[in-house]
């Protein structure tokens, strides 16, 4: 067995783990990060994309609110290419308690969350689709964030600082010598090979899976996997984040992100972060709630539904999962459980990932005798190559605002226009060109789902109708010299179609049902992919169906 050695082994390639890896590497601490799937495979890749202003927590979780407000300003600075400055509204609808408005404002002031009341007329001028019966509107600094891209940027920076990041590496065991954890055995899911990684500290940043990792060290960490279901709508009926002004509950937020508007979320305790379903009632409930914010909401086209599991840490008895604080906690297992060499970072949310990493690495650095200060709040993150062109400066106007390198919705369109690349779009819905797909493949994407997360391929209205076929072919042509065979390419298509289907079925009606039928015509009718099932098998680094990374949706 190959043995590697490092100072800190980070487990988990979500926002927190990757953030920790960067912070460690920036301070000169050697680290290896292992992730059983692709980066953002877990909760980071399955959330609604809200960059919190803090407004949602001002009443029930003031510490989180303050942390969010603080981190919000930092993230806008260090990852401008990942964040859209949409602004956010908290609105009081006829279904909400009028009196909460004043409480909300007072609590915003108390927690340092910037807030300003605007008139309903102003709200309607800016967002004409919103319910005109809304009575009060408070504007906050909400935004939307591309958590895939952000995590890739953080990982890129971490690698530049010397961190080693290994995706599709599953931790199968932790090595314990007496009461000390000294390393881990990990399996490379692509080759099946096992590797031993010796380390001074293991950092458990596995989010909703943190309890499973802790158990390998013989300690108990209770993480309540709180399932949140979301629905992406086909286009942005609002360009501002819209929250109901009330205590957080189900279906009370709409986040415009990239080309879609996401309505979320539910909060359902599930026993296992890998096994959960999307219930039809959850979808219907969210459509009903959406109707309160945007009249006619049901008539808009829903693209797909998905669920993520919140990594809520439960350290005392709390009534409902929504009452668990959204703040994070660093667990020192030596002090807590008498097992040294391992720390767990649990709880928290995407917006505060950097702060979580900072405090975690402060502690690790202290123990390792490293005195370097944290610099993650000031260093601007690099842009991954597959994204670089999409975020290149595109001059479309004499307006200086258009010269910004920051994210704006029209940028991919402006880029395709300037390059006359309309005929070279592989994913037509999300305007992903052949060059960007190839760059993602060359940057190491292992399967179609990795490419999807990297460049949004297959995430638009047709949900892969045309681009799955095209992308699988590009993957094959690019990788066949490295041993990727036709059987792997066939498998990639079959698997990805099935993955899309899981998220589609809960929202199939109207145009999306028609689209699904057209996709069936394409794949079963025109291409006859099902006739190639005997010529399909995983391999060639595809790792699409390994039990360690499969999420089973339970049929409702």
């Amino acid at each position: 067995m190959q043995t590697l050695s490092t100072d800190v082994l980070v487990i988990g390639g979500g926002a927190t783990g990757t953030g920790c890896a960067l912070d460690l590497a920036m301070r000169g601490i050697r680290c290896i990060l292992v992730e059983k799937g692709d980066l953002t495979h877990g909760t980071t890749g399955r959330y609604h994309g809200l960059l919190h202003s803090g407004g949602r927590y001002v009443t029930k979780d003031p510490q989180s609110a303050t942390e969010c407000a603080h981190e919000n300003a930092i993230l806008r600075r260090i990852m401008p290419h990942c964040i859209e400055q949409t602004s956010g509204f908290f609105v009081i609808t006829p279904w909400d308690d009028e009196s909460y408005g004043d409480v909300f404002v007072a609590n915003c002031h108390r927690t340092g969350v910037p807030v300003q009341e605007i008139s309903v007329a102003e709200m309607l001028r800016r967002e004409p689709a919103l319910n005109p019966r809304i009575s009060r509107v408070f504007e906050v600094h909400d935004g939307s964030a591309d958590s895939f891209l952000a995590t890739h940027s953080v990982a890129l920076a971490a690698r530049e600082y010397g961190a080693e990041i290994r995706t599709y590496h599953n931790v199968v065991d932790l090595v314990r010598v007496g009461d000390r954890v000294v390393g881990a055995i990990v399996e490379d899911l692509r080759s099946g090979e096992r590797i031993r990684i010796d380390c001074t500290y293991v950092l458990n940043a596995a989010g909703a899976w943190a309890g499973k990792i802790a158990a390998l060290a013989g300690v108990t960490v209770t993480v309540v996997p709180g399932k949140g279901t979301m629905v992406a709508m086909n286009h942005r009926m609002v360009n501002t984040v819209v929250n109901r002004c009330k205590l957080p509950s189900d279906g009370d937020i709409i986040v415009p992100i990239h080309t879609v508007a996401v309505i979320g979320t539910t909060d359902v305790h599930v026993p296992d972060p890998d096994v959960f379903g999307i219930e039809p009632e959850e979808i219907q409930f969210m459509l009903d709630e959406g109707e309160k914010l945007i009249p006619g909401f049901r008539q808009y086209r829903a693209l797909r539904a998905w669920a993520g599991v919140r990594p809520l840490y439960k350290d005392k008895d709390v009534a409902s999962d929504r009452d668990i604080p959204r703040t994070f906690k660093l667990l020192d297992h030596e002090e807590r459980d008498g097992v040294s060499g391992i720390l767990s970072i649990v709880g928290g949310k995407w917006t505060t990932y950097r702060l979580m990493a900072e405090q975690t690495v402060n502690e690790l650095a202290r123990r390792l005798g490293n005195t370097q200060p944290c610099r993650t709040a000031s260093e601007v993150l690099p842009v991954p190559r597959f994204e670089h062109r999409a975020h290149a400066m595109v001059t479309v106007s004499t307006d200086p605002a258009a010269q910004t390198p920051h994210y704006w919705l029209g940028k991919p369109l402006a880029l395709v226009e300037s390059e006359h690349a309309a005929g070279d779009l592989i994913c037509e819905c999300e305007l992903v060109t052949r060059d960007r797909i190839v760059a993602a493949i060359d940057a190491g994407a292992h399967n179609l789902d990795d490419i999807r997360r990297d460049v949004r391929m297959g995430m638009g209205p047709c949900q892969g109708g045309w681009c799955i076929y095209r992308t699988a072919n590009l993957l094959y042509e690019r990788r066949c010299a490295d041993g990727l065979s036709h059987t792997h390419a066939n498998e990639a298509i079959l698997h990805f179609l099935q993955e899309r289907w899981k998220g589609l079925t809960p929202v199939l009606w109207g145009d999306q049902l028609r689209q699904a039928r057209l996709d069936e015509l394409i794949y079963a009718g025109v291409l006859g992919i099902h006739r190639l099932r005997a010529l399909a098998e995983p391999g060639g680094g595809l790792v699409t169906q390994h039990p360690a990374i499969a999420t089973e949706y339970v049929q409702a």
Binding site: A421, Y476, I493, R514, E520, I522, L527
Partner: protein, 412 residues
């Protein structure tokens, strides 16, 4: 006042309209837009996964007496297809194949797809010929994002066909970008473009001794047969087209020859006319109203053919709360019980998804019935994908069932 108004311009609607127009009737085809023909392969699928389609259909009709094939009957299947073939022949776009033995034609992924009749431009791709041991070249253009020779060739090789892949160099053209199948089809009708293509193919044949060359189905819109003949002469090998993703050039050709035929027979086609409600007197459909600028347009006819398709064609639509409705005349539908029964857990499940068998239940003369089995309209016939109880995509009878029922409505 028309004798017959056909609602829907897909294959079934066009066949019904041609049949009525041939009898000297005044016929209008009223359609929201272009139909599913544009999305299909341009072949005529009768029944997949059987050796003998006609025998398979007879079997199917016994097992499922309400299947569209059972209702149309074998005579209508054979006559309808004969009529389409005659139209193709007259238009210089002949179809070849057989009722008793499926062809197996390569798809744009290299799968082998059963179909009964295919345009002459595709016929040399039949797997039985390809397996003769002589080398086949699969060639495309890097600029075309809907056709990738390497994977097609690799999959064909895995099925015992000596296939190799090549990317051709796009012949010089005034166009700089955006080489969609339709654009390339237009370019192939330019002699200089085609000559260049032919030279490249000839060079490959000289080098690799290919007996057959598979190209994407882009070989001309109006004169495909001539384009293929010309390229075969230039290349010195047999050429066959492989259908591409929608919009399919071969599907467009099929639609075009049917439209030409209907207009030649004096029929009318009105596109952009979305039928949204009906006017009845007892069990007679008197008029329909189509959406138009500022107000609806009222259309009257003695008899009607509903050919709006199923969920894909737009004849059936589902609401978010799980109801399915027929969009033009609000006819009763035969649907699965409850939304929970709509889908199978696996997308490519062998039997498809029950929701896609939603449609209108009909009597032996294809007239609509309600849930109690009572006739809804005595002067309306339902054809093609709007019919209940079959899944044309998964059964592999998309064109066959449409032609058979359409032709039956055109004759009755």
């Amino acid at each position: 006042m028309y004798d017959t108004i056909v609602i829907g311009a897909g294959l079934s609607g066009m066949l019904a309209a041609i049949g009525r127009a041939e009898r000297g009737e005044k016929v209008l085809v009223l359609a929201k837009g272009h139909g599913a023909t544009h999305w299909s392969t341009g072949c005529i699928d009768l029944l997949a996964d059987v050796d003998d389609p006609l025998a398979g259909i007879a079997q199917l009709a016994i097992q499922h007496p309400h299947h569209p094939y059972a209702l149309a009957g074998p005579a209508m299947i054979e006559q309808g297809i004969a009529r389409v073939r005659a139209i193709g022949e007259a238009a210089g776009y002949p179809f070849a194949g057989s009722f008793n033995r499926n062809l197996l034609l390569p798809t744009a992924l290299g799968a082998l797809r059963p179909t009964a009749f295919a345009p002459a431009t595709m016929i040399a791709g039949d797997a039985r010929q390809l397996r003769d041991g002589r080398p086949t070249l699969i060639a495309g253009f890097a600029e075309l994002r809907d056709f990738f020779p390497p994977l097609i060739a690799a999959n064909l090789r895995a099925q015992g066909i000596a296939a190799e892949a090549a990317q051709l160099t796009l012949p010089p053209t005034q166009r700089q970008h955006d080489f969609s199948p339709v654009t390339l089809a237009r370019l192939c009708e330019q002699p200089a473009f085609r000559a260049n293509l032919g030279e490249q193919l000839a060079a490959y044949v000289r080098k690799g001794g290919y007996a057959r060359i598979g190209l994407p189905a882009i070989l001309g819109l109006k004169h495909a047969t001539e384009v293929v003949r010309d390229l075969q002469n230039r290349a010195g090998a047999l050429i066959f087209e492989i259908p591409t993703l929608p919009v399919s050039v071969a599907g467009m050709r099929l639609y075009q020859i049917l439209e030409d035929e209907l207009l030649r027979l004096g029929g009318r086609i009105q596109l952009g006319g979305f039928v949204q409600r009906a006017e009845r007197i007892s069990d007679t459909l008197v008029a329909v109203f189509s959406e138009a600028a500022a107000r609806e347009q009222r259309h009257t006819a003695r008899r009607w053919v509903l050919a709006t398709g199923g969920i894909l064609g737009g004849g059936v639509r589902a609401t978010p709360d799980g109801h399915l409705h027929e969009t033009a005349l609000d006819l009763p539908l035969q649907t699965p019980d409850g939304r929970a029964g709509w889908f199978a857990p696996r997308f490519l499940n062998a039997h498809g998804h029950p929701v896609f068998q939603t449609g209108v239940r009909v009597d032996q003369r294809l007239r609509p019935l309600d849930a109690a089995g009572q006739l809804v309209y005595e002067n309306v016939q339902i054809v093609g994908g709007a019919l209940a109880g079959y899944d044309p995509i998964r059964e592999g009878n998309l064109e066959g069932a449409a032609i058979a029922t359409g032709w039956a409505a055109g004759q009755a």
